[in-house]
């Protein structure tokens, strides 16, 4: 019955009125974005706003009423030594992760880039720690650091360095450093992968030209490698900094902030304040202060990048 021409005609008729609606293209575009917009609004933007509101309220986690308490939560946070101690600790993690972690990432990326054989083996090996969860990292390193039978102390004994055995996670002087070592071990592969990709994008002719000019290793690095890596360095720097500042699971599983508060970090303080002490308002105030600082840091870093790339 319906010949192809009839179908085509019907379709054309069908299309004609739709084409006349001038806002169709906008509606289609917005419809494509609807699921993403709805989810982001509901589960990111609303909670973000709600965190700010909750920081001026009191809530025990159960009761339906959340009375307004003004700045009381913030006063509490400002007087909270543990919170500020945790800010200091996380700053130490950030500095160590940023400088030492990224130096290792960059150094090893250059080493692998120079290697003639087995590059992909090394790349695979170096990123393996990065695919584990924070819980696995915590359990695994908890075992390595175990004071009496942990592998690190036993390795020290087996090579005749009994004197260097330590209570790695229990000694207040060492705990922060031990967690930082774990953190760097866990995360350097990420920067490494990105630096390596950046190095592979540098045209070989530029090195050849520099060699012909007699440039030594340092000059090549300074004037060829480094300028090419600026975009990668910026993003790796930002992400590793933000990653270090948000450290949580590794610390919770390894030390739970101890001994005392020597490895306490803000996210863990916020978590404990809410889910152990049931002071959700105070926890919200902390997350506003800490989260706000993180957002500010990201904006500053991105602003600097923009300015650098424009100049």
């Amino acid at each position: 019955m319906t010949t192809p021409t009839a179908v085509a005609a019907a379709r054309r008729q069908d299309l004609a009125p739709r084409k006349r609606w001038p806002y169709r293209k906008h509606a289609v575009g917005l419809l494509f974005l609807l699921p993403a917009t709805a989810l982001i609004c509901l589960f990111t933007l609303v909670p973000f706003a709600q965190a700010i509101l909750l920081s001026f309220q009191e809530w025990d986690g159960i009761s339906p009423d959340t009375p307004w308490v003004g700045l009381e939560n913030y006063e509490r946070v400002f007087g909270d030594q543990v919170f500020w101690e945790s800010m200091k600790n996380v700053l130490a993690f950030a500095v160590i992760g940023f400088f030492i972690g990224n130096a290792i990432s960059l150094g090893m990326a250059m080493a692998v880039h120079k290697a003639r054989r087995a590059r992909s083996f090394f790349r695979t090996a170096y990123y393996i720690p990065g695919v584990f969860s924070v819980v696995v990292i915590g359990l695994m390193w908890g075992w390595l650091y175990e004071p009496s039978v942990g592998i690190i102390n036993r390795l020290l004994v087996s090579i005749g360095l009994e004197g260097l055995q330590q209570n790695w996670l229990g000694d207040p002087a060492l705990a922060l450093g031990s967690v930082a070592v774990t953190f760097v071990w866990y995360h350097w592969g990420f920067g490494f992968i990105l630096f390596l990709a950046g190095l592979q994008d540098i045209p070989a002719e530029q090195y050849e030209a520099a060699s012909l000019d007699g440039a030594r290793a340092w000059a090549k690095f300074r004037y060829v490698t480094w300028p090419h890596l600026v975009p990668v360095t910026t993003i790796v720097g930002l992400l590793s900094l933000l990653g270090a500042l948000q450290i949580f699971g590794t610390v919770q599983v390894l030390t739970n902030g101890g001994p005392g508060y020597h490895t306490m970090v803000p996210t863990l303080v916020i978590y404990t304040e809410a889910f152990t002490s049931h002071r959700y308002g105070v926890a919200a105030a902390m997350s506003v202060i800490f989260g706000g600082a993180l957002v500010l840091l990201a904006l500053i870093q991105l602003g600097l990048t923009q300015r650098r790339s424009r100049s």
Binding site: G29, G214, Y271
Partner: protein, 303 residues
Amino acid sequence: MVISTESTSTRAVVTGVPRPPRTEQAGRRRRKWGAEQVLLYALLIFAALTALFPIFFLLTGSLMSLQELYRGASLLPTELLWGNYATAWVEGNLAVYLTNSLIYTLTSVLGILIVSSLAGYALARLEFWGKNVFMFVILAVLIIPAPAMFIAQYKLLIGFGLTNSPVGYVLVMITAGIPVATLIMRSFFVNQPKDLEEAAALDGASSFTIFARVILPLARPGLAAVAVIQGLGVWNEYLMALVLFRDDNLMPVQRGLTSFVNSETPQEQILLAATAISVVPVIILYLLAQKQIVQGLGAGALK
């Protein structure tokens, strides 16, 4: 811009250096390269051992008996006790945790793929009001960190009755994945040729038909990269799993492992075996899909 000025300054700096005669330079270089490569490989192998030794000792510890572990006499197990793995599987409730993790990961990844490919396509190809606003929102959301939100997300989910619920967890996971996934998909679509879409449009196909029949099948490499990187992220997620789940039977494996540690005080070798079992899926995924992971990391970070 930056690059060209830098390379001129290179020339300026190095012209002052006198060039050694050619033959001497070539000879010296060959000798130096030999020593250099040996040192280089020493460094590379040392770093590989450092990256791998914790995993090695996790495995050896998981195969020892408790007595041997605590005697501390040998670094390697004298006898491989594979039974530890069976014990860990049962005591650690791993069948339940791993199944949960698998379900949460697959549903979250599916959700992320659908939502982010739609959004990424719209941002790459369609023209409409508010496109720039949405782009800005995505970038803004990217810099809001989890510690700023998780308390409020918990409160919100209580309001919906979605705490201790797979639905609540998966919705939060999908939302967390959207920004990066959308940016990856967008940059993927931007680099795709337009011919096929235009041909389909001339045939009178609607935008949705074009998307489902023409665009998505061609987007498989982009979807694969997003799926692998997000799958890894969801499988390894811990903070929200800790906050949301109370019921042991609903916990994903990361949360389940810490629950195992805290409630039953398992013997160390059993705990190590349980930990080892929990990483088997990610190791397999990593070895199979390393290319996608590396691409996804690069794309997610740089675009």
